[in-house]
Amino acid sequence: MRPSEVTLNFGTPQDSPRTSSDFEEIPYPHHWPSSQGQPEELPLHYMSEETTRRRVHQHPPPGPAGYADYPVDPTGQDDGGKDVYAKMRQSHGSLGGGRPRRLPPPPPTSVREFVSQNLEHIPPVFYTLFSCWTRFHGIGKSDVVVWDEAHFGKFGSHYLKREFYFDVHPPLGKMLVGLAGLLSGYNGSFEFKSGEKYPDHVPYVAMRVMIATFGVAMVPLAWYTAVELGMSWKACHLVALMVLLDVGWLCISRFILLDSMLLFFTFTTVFFLTKFHNQRYYPFSFDWWMWLLFTGISIGCVTSVKLVGLFVTALVGVYTVEDLWHKFGDLKMSLRDQLWHWGARVACLIITPIIVYMITFKIHFLILNHSGPGDAQMSSLFQANLVGNDFARNPLEVAVGSKITLKNMGWGGGLLHSHVQTFPVGSMQQQITCYHYKDENNDWIVLPRWDEPAYDPNAALRFLKDGDVIRLRHSPTLRNLHSHPIPAPITKLNHEVSCYGNETVGDVQDHWKVEVVDDIKRGGKSKFDRIHSLTTRLRFSHVHLGCYLRAANAVLPQWGFKQIEVSCDKENNPEDIRTHWNVESHWNDRLPSGNAKFYRSPFLRDFWHLNVAMWTSNNALIPDPDKFDVLASTPFDWPFQHLGLRMCGWADFQVKYYLIGTPLIWVGSTISLFIAVLLLGFYLFRQQRKYADMEPREWDHFLYVGKIAFFGWFFHFAPFLVMGRVTYIHHYLPTLYFAVLMFAHIFDHFFFSAKRFSEKTKNIIFGVNVFLQLAMFYWFKELAWGIEGPVTEYKHRGWRSSWNLYN
């Protein structure tokens, strides 16, 4: 960006012919020395400031006189053609944009002064009150379990009952649901079956109100974020109004769901980031540290609600990288300051969020200390430490004839499983899988080899030792664990593992050698002889093929019920924990029940284990090609509102909720994103052609807000495109926020902050916009507040034929 050299205006219209030539023309210096301070005010007889500014280098000045003014960059035409570094040097030392610096006001001496100093806080107060009304209005109208309340209500109940459960989302949001239940006096006894009516003892209205409070807070946060972003007043109003009036955000905030918390923490993260940005000229001040730390904590919270929070983390990451890149290029900054800057980011934006995330898991484990439905996802040792688990009473030492279950020790591993269904490919024999759900299909009986005498229940006990060759018989179907040189269904380079034969039919391919790795409690394998349940780590080597029983994280297709594939790995890698197994449950009438004191499973190990399990299960939520899921939608259905979502049953007597946004907000914001990209391209094109359209500060502001909005949107949208899992429209709700910011930013850029429009025009544009939003909100409000009676009475709400509002 060039300095504004236009200030050279001698007050004569350029096209007017000179009337006299009796003085010598002296060329003005072409670079006004900046050290002389402000360029002097020059008379602006007939040009507005706006016009003057835009007259800079609009056209290449004709003639050699003009040429002299614009020295050609010597590196511009050399052999390289392009100067890679010249562009970098142009950039300013620090990111511009944001709210202009203001001096703190003097202490107010009168009420009037106090009010005038705090004028900017009055609109958000009103917006918040409105927001309370929209969010809480008739919140208990539907007295049944709506949509995913079935999940999150149930998880909340588990906290109250302190029973361990498993879910793909991190625990913070669900703990807050549990807290809401606790505060409203709910005892955790309700099952939250989908569509079921709430019994009297469940204070669902109070719980919904508490959760909706997070949704209420979105509105003031949006206001203050817009203020901190340095938007004009009208744009700030626009942002707050859009957040207030979107029926999608409204609808999702009114139930016992995690989305309102996710949205809340997403909003706080952006807010804190903009706050921090505005402290950039006061590094290491108290406020600077505070907002940076808050940003980090907020990142931790949003990620602990749903992993979607990683997307807003990416936004902060990109901002920080750019910021540090500028600092890195600031040669005047001392090394000490450099290091402090880098260290502060690492401490506040990396370490703090991780700590927050881990703390939520620590609390999660502390609360859920009873055995519950999610046990099987965790390691055997973790389960043994839960109250109500009977592993401790299992016999300790495994012998031939014992009935056992085998747990894979890989991160997120399950229990060795078989069921009567057969492989549709390969050998067509009975399937072997790895599965987390506990049932008797996980039970195996340890038996001697085929060439040894059959197991005699009355003979002397033979304890299992390292190197023993055994058969494993599947207890319910009486078939034997078997492997053969047929490629496994997914991991084709490994051998398939199946269940084959019966009590009398079998062959040497049923023989497995038990190889002890070590024992968690007793140490290396030289130190003990007998195999203990829970703690001894084993590998099973196929005697005939020499391969190892392994449960990879490959998920079988629908015919295998999305369970984990088990195969026999030809490579012998003793370090591969996916080939490690331990005995979990153990039943043997001839052995005394154990009474072992287990050493506690370390927190970090459990934390990591649970996270891998969450990740695996999340990725396993892939759409089923054989099933048509009417609720699911693809990312491209969202920005232009191709599909909505029915949140509950659709019968006439039910209160019905339809998740779809206010069309102006959704479609308008999407269009604004396209416009922003085109506009940026246009300006860059003009810049490359060396036209100056904006002052540096203006340009920085345009870029700064645009980057926050665009990258925020992009990071919240693009991952869904590559993600294999099934997606729903509510995944777009955090994304929408950034589109809304862009919408306001574009309006701000074109109209509200533009100097070419009169105040009256701006007011009209603003008024029409607000009116349309209000009207649309009024028109669609029942979709979020609940439709009573037959939906056909709301005939004209179905603006797009693809919405399944009526049929």
Binding site: Y67, P74, Q77, G80, C547
Partner: protein, 780 residues
């Protein structure tokens, strides 16, 4: 050569009128002089270079180098070209396609035709008549008298010529002979490139044209101070033409187009600065690029397809992929021979186009309750059934008055019809009841003939695809949709299998917006009975005399493009030798091309580890060098001379773009991927390796290399000097590369056979899955 400073530049504003370049002032420091000395005096006199460099840079030394490289390339690619005399790997496809050209039978493939046309040409040249089907890997050529070596010779020739082209790319970019030879040797003795070049496959052809594209682009770029001269135009058009050949050889050739496109855009972006070009000049440049890089390649691309259609005039294996209108242009196709017009009261069978199921109904009824607690109408089942059956017969019933005889009885586009199920004497209908498998779709059932009060629900609107008013419905030749007159849903078959109660037949249901695409398209399969069936043959005149219809080339072309795109995306089945892109640069996994039990012979396509790891290492280094250079500049630390910086970013940067563009997109493709998809990127990495080696060995470079324009300001010349370490390194590298090449030769050439232990020794990486390995492997 016209002077660029023509009248187009107003008032001499152009770049030519400017001050001579000035050295950017640096902050004087203690080390300044020394530093400045080092950065500015780079062998400005060629005699200052080391003896070996002077010798290697002499013209005759360069010529000898190229000749030696080329001869070696031909030797290693042509050696034992006739072994094995069996069909190997994808020769199954590409040999077959070449045969189809010679037989002029229409086929369908996901790849554009150019490379296959060349293969067919080679086959024709050596007298192959297309009378061999290339059915299975391992089929014998010699037993069937196929002159296969002639067809293999074509990829071998082009594959050999790739080596000198790589050499010249580096040479033109200003690298020394040694460096250029180094890049060429990485390709020359590479087992993967050699394997791929010796067989009837497309990749060698693709890679040859890709390298030519890069070469021409480099040449074009070097002429940039001679804009709009003959040479400038010639090299631009050459780039465009070779680009079109690359793209027309294989679908992934499009990546080359993208790579060049990026370079062109960067180039244009630089010209945008008004100090360099006024409006007229930038417009001229832009339009020239449009012609050279868009219009010309497109014309060539179209031209190859035009030849493709012009040759393939007979019906063949590809018919079924195409639309009926297309099929009717082929001589001897079934539509032409067996298509009949349908008249009212004919009994016909109706086939679902995508799944080949016939519309079927039987007396069994839908069960009242479904597992998800919905209920059905308990009407008669309507399903899709792939086998012939009496229950597939439907009579087309008119809804309007018909004349006794004649043309008025023909079923036409936009008619409203009823379909009467012959066996149960009931009409096809649909109504507002959810179908068994989908809550959103309507159930299809039938209505007994006597229930006239629901007559309206049995009416269907007949829409011929691309139909015109009054068009006749014929069997096989016209695809159509059936839209229910009352509820406006289309009859469709989404591909959902019904449970046992419907004998696992396919569900037929209705929806307004059918998905997947095309699931609502049906075709009349055959007329099984009719009032005047005896005159069937006369209805449309004598079948035997029917001439193939003609069709606009562009409609054919667009149809084929759509299909190619759809099928390419559909290649997702897993394959034991498929590999993921991340495993490619280090040759983690190869492909077993061919095995022969007798003699334990096999061909295993995998890269030469020395060359691949060197190239991959160079790529890693460059991704370290670029950031390091940016960081250094950011801190204003002078590290590189200007000339070296420019070479690093402009020349090597272009190679990196080529590499990234030919590699990264594969991470996004969900289709089956194989190691040979990396070969174009590997070529780019060989170029990068040369540039990196030069960067490591010396701070000198031949500079400037672009042809100086009439008024380009003179630049001080610089000369590269690798000293002794360059040649020594390249010598040692060549030795290693060649030794490993020879060691791997039994896997590349498929002979001699290896016994179990030898196979184990050749298994250089644990992840290679060679055949005939001895047993103890698993216990290692």
């Amino acid at each position: 050569m016209s002077s660029p400073a023509g009248p187009s530049r107003i008032g001499g504003l152009g770049p030519r009128h400017r001050k001579p370049p000035t050295v950017e002032p640096r902050v004087p420091t203690e080390d300044y002089d020394e530093e400045h000395e080092r950065l500015t005096t780079n062998f400005n006199h060629p005699r200052n270079r080391s003896a070996i460099e002077q010798y290697m840079e002499a013209p005759h030394a360069k010529q000898i180098t190229v000749v030696v490289l080329t001869v070696l390339a031909f030797i290693v690619r042509f050696a034992k070209l006739n072994h094995p005399d069996q069909v190997v790997f994808d020769e199954v496809h590409f040999g077959k396609f070449a045969a189809y050209y010679l037989r002029r039978e229409y086929y369908f493939d996901v790849h554009p035709p150019f490379a296959k046309l060349l293969l067919a040409l080679a086959g024709w040249f050596v007298g192959f008549e297309g009378d061999f089907d290339f059915l299975n890997i391992g089929d014998s050529y010699s037993a069937n008298n196929v002159p296969y070596w002639g067809m293999r010779a074509l990829p071998a020739i082009l594959g050999s010529l790739t080596v000198p082209v790589v050499y010249y790319i580096m040479q033109e970019c200003g690298y020394s002979t040694i460096i250029a030879a180094f890049s060429a040797i990485i390709i020359l003795f590479d087992n993967a490139h050699v394997t791929q070049s010796r067989l009837i496959l497309l990749d060698a052809i693709l890679i040859f044209f890709m390298s030519l594209t890069i070469y021409s682009y480099v040449k074009f770029r070097k002429y940039r101070y001679h804009e709009f001269t003959f040479d400038w135009w010639a090299w631009m058009l050459a780039t465009g033409v070779f680009m079109a050949c690359t793209w027309s050889s294989k679908v992934n050739g499009i990546l080359t187009v993208v790579a060049v496109g990026i370079a062109v855009m960067v180039d244009l972006w630089d010209l945008l600065d008004w100090r360099k070009s006024d409006n007229e000049r930038i417009t001229k440049h832009f339009l020239a690029r449009v012609v050279g890089f868009i219009v010309v390649p497109l014309i060539f691309y179209l031209f190859f397809f035009w030849i493709h259609f012009a040759i393939l005039t007979h019906s063949g294996t590809g018919d079924g992929f195409m639309s009926p209108a297309f099929q009717e242009t082929l001589i001897g196709n079934e539509l032409l021979m067996n298509s009949h017009e349908i008249r009212y009261f004919d009994t016909i069978t109706i086939k679902h186009v995508n799944t080949k199921n016939l519309l079927h109904s039987h007396p069994q009824r839908y069960p009242r309750d479904y597992p998800d607690k919905r209920v059905s109408s308990q009407g008669q089942q309507v399903t899709g059934y792939p086998h012939e059956d009496e229950n597939n017969n439907w009579i087309v019933v008119p809804t309007k008055a018909l004349p006794e005889t004649g043309r008025g009885r023909i079923v036409r586009h936009n008619d409203i019809i009823q379909l009467l199920h012959v066996q149960t004497d009931s009409f096809l209908m649909t109504h507002d009841v959810a179908s068994p498998g989908y809550t959103t779709h309507q159930e299809f059932t039938t209505l007994p003939k006597d229930q006239m009060h629901r007559y309206n629900e049995t009416l269907f609107h007949l829409h011929l695809i691309d139909g015109y008013e009054g068009q006749v419905l014929t069997t096989k030749a016209n695809h159509f949709k059936l839209q229910h007159a009352v509820t406006t849903v289309y009859m469709m078959l989404p591909g959902h299998e019904l449970p046992d109660w419907a004998f696992n037949q396919q569900e037929v249901n209705g929806h307004r917006q059918p998905e997947p695409e095309g699931s609502e398209i049906w075709v009349g399969d055959a007329i099984v009975a009719g009032e005047h069936l005896d005159e069937l043959d006369e209805r449309l005149g004598n079948q035997k005399d029917r001439k193939p219809k003609s069709m606009n080339f562009f409609s054919k072309f667009i149809q084929l493009q759509d299909l190619m795109f759809a099928h390419n995306a559909g290649l997702t089945a897993s394959h034991p030798y498929a590999s993921s892109p991340s495993s490619w640069p280090f040759a983690k996994k190869g492909i077993s091309f061919w095995t022969q039990n007798e003699g334990h012979k096999q061909i295993y396509m995998v890269g030469n580890l020395v060359g691949w790891w060197t190239a991959a290492g160079a790529v890693f280094l460059i991704f370290g060098i670029f950031p390091a250079s940016i960081f250094a500049e950011r801190r204003n630390i002078p590290v590189l001379t200007e000339s070296v910086t420019h070479r690093l970013w402009n020349s090597c940067g272009f190679f990196v773009v080529v590499w990234v563009v030919h590699y990264a997109p594969f991470f996004l493709f969900s289709r089956q991927l194989f190691l040979h998809h990396y070969l174009p990127a590997h070529l780019a990495s060989a170029l990068i390796a040369g540039a990196v080696l030069n960067f490591i060995c010396t701070e000198t470079i031949n500079y400037p290399i672009s042809y100086r324009g009439l008024d380009t300001p003179p630049k001080p010349r610089e000369y590269a000097d690798l000293g002794v370490k360059g040649p020594v390194f390249v010598g040692v590298f060549t030795l290693l590369q060649f030794s490993l090449f020879i060691f791997m030769a039994p896997l590349t050439y498929g002979t001699p056979g290896l016994d179990g232990d030898e196979v184990n020794r050749h298994r250089l990486r644990k992840s290679w899955t060679l055949h005939f390995a001895s047993k103890e492997m698993a216990d290692l």
